[in-house]
């Protein structure tokens, strides 16, 4: 006759399993302690950010990097040779806006030098990696039917991004004169964005905020609201995907992981 009831066996089994689990979680002699959360497999060591400060110089270097992002994008657009026919006038606009950005970059780098910082003379590496390079790849895809239009769409988005960035750093810059200098350029970027918005959606219908009745999405507007937004910017470019849609990138102003700290250099 069995001396253990079914209930006893289950209770004993549960206690044993809990004991094994606790033993597994405990320290074992001869086994090196890992800093990682216990897991199966090899986990790379966590790497923290270096001890950096978000200073006025860092914010200005970031602004300078955005200027070079814009310069590079306009240069790339002009180099594509797509501004022909209906887009011939866009070439003149692109050259003018690129030249404005060159002036802005020089002005910002002048301020950085005055503050004792190292000027930054190339595009923001992080924004290049996650926004601009993917967008240009989509635009120059052989299956893209309208690269000229898409280049203007990207430029419009970058101008909005720049205008938002300058507006956003007003709350971060510690010096009032620097805030004014930032917005001197910021309002230029806002004008650029308005001009490009009119190129994309010309005339009275493209001035104020409106919604596309077919897609339900907002139309491009030169003056989309009463206040300068600080919201993500969506950019739809490139060829049609297999499902009939086109790729959309979401652009956001630089944040802690895309600021140009002193240890960020132009490769």
């Amino acid at each position: 006759m069995n001396r253990y009831s079914r209930r006893s066996v289950l209770r004993l089994g549960g206690v044993s399993a809990a004991g094994i689990l606790l033993a597994a979680c405990g320290k074992q002699t001869g086994v090196e302690e890992s800093k990682n959360v216990r897991s199966v497999g090899v986990v790379p060591e966590a790497e923290g950010l270096s001890n950096v400060e978000v200073t006025d110089i860092v914010l200005l270097r970031t602004a300078a990097s955005l200027e070079y992002n814009a310069i590079d994008t306009y240069d790339a657009a002009l180099g594509l040779g797509v501004f022909t026919g209906a887009f011939a006038a866009a070439s003149d606009i692109a050259q003018r806006l690129r030249d404005d950005h060159r002036g802005h970059a020089a002005a910002i780098n002048g301020l950085i030098s005055q503050l004792g910082g190292e000027p930054f003379t190339c595009g923001n590496p992080r924004l290049n990696e996650i926004y601009i390079a993917p967008a240009l790849a989509l635009i120059t895809d052989a299956d893209n039917e309208n690269p000229a239009l898409d280049v203007v769409v990207l430029a419009h988005a970058l101008e909005n991004l720049a205008a938002q960035t300058y507006q956003g750093v007003v709350t971060l810059l510690t010096d009032q004169a620097l805030r004014q200098a930032a917005m001197t350029i910021g309002q230029d970027e806002a004008r650029h964005a308005a001009v490009l918005a009119q190129a994309l959606n010309p005339g009275l219908a493209g001035v104020l905020a409106s919604v596309n009745a077919t897609t339900g999405k907002p139309n491009v507007a030169a003056v989309p609201g009463a206040f300068g937004p600080l919201t993500p910017i969506s950019v739809t470019v490139g060829p049609l995907n297999s499902d009939g849609t086109r790729s959309t990138l979401i652009l956001e102003t630089p944040s802690l992981n895309s600021l140009v700290y002193p240890d960020v250099t132009c490769a």
């Binding site: 400060e53 003018r96 009032q176 917005m183 910021g186 309002q187 001009v195 104020l208 206040f227 802690l256």
Partner: protein, 165 residues
């Protein structure tokens, strides 16, 4: 990592400046109301002018919120005096040019305020309004058939603080 300090509130001196901007924005609202009533414009054009009117009203109200009891919520007479006479007549482009200059004047004024305001909260609000007025100026230049350079540059001088009354 050290992050920047939090947004700082408007000081007493800031509230004076924000109250001045409040009056200038209400004047712009009233000037757009005059323009939008002009027979020189089509219904579609009036829709745009009314939209810009609404933007100035929203800006004025937001500035009033920061200026507090210092805000008069009345249009700045000096600003009305500068531009009102240029909104008469049937020359559409002349009216658009007057409005463009109004936007540029306000943009220049707000730019100087951004450099004067101590609290970052007020400076951020004014910067936000400034970017919209720069867009409105550029748009009016294009609608008025002016050059790309006119759309992209601002040669206006800022209003002096005394122009608010």
């Amino acid at each position: 990592m050290t992050q920047p300090t939090a947004i700082t509130p408007a000081t007493k001196a800031d509230r004076e400046l924000l109250g001045f901007a409040n009056a200038a924005e209400f004047a712009a609202r009233d000037l757009y109301a005059i323009a939008a009533a002009s027979a020189a414009f089509s219904d579609d054009e009036k829709t745009v002018l009314t939209g810009f009117h609404d933007h100035h009203r929203a800006a004025a109200q937001a500035l009033a919120g920061m200026a507090g009891s210092i805000a008069t919520n009345e249009p700045a007479a000096a600003v009305l005096d500068i531009f009102r006479s240029r909104l008469n007549g049937s020359n559409k482009n002349a009216i658009l040019e007057a409005l463009r200059e109004l936007e540029n004047t306000l943009a220049a004024t707000h730019l100087s305020l951004v450099g004067a305001l101590e609290g970052t909260g007020g400076a951020a609000l004014v910067a936000s309004i400034l970017n919209v007025e720069a867009r409105q100026s550029a748009t009016l230049a294009l609608l008025g058939g002016r050059s790309l350079n006119d759309a992209l540059t601002n040669g206006a001088a800022p209003l002096s603080l005394g122009a608010g009354s």
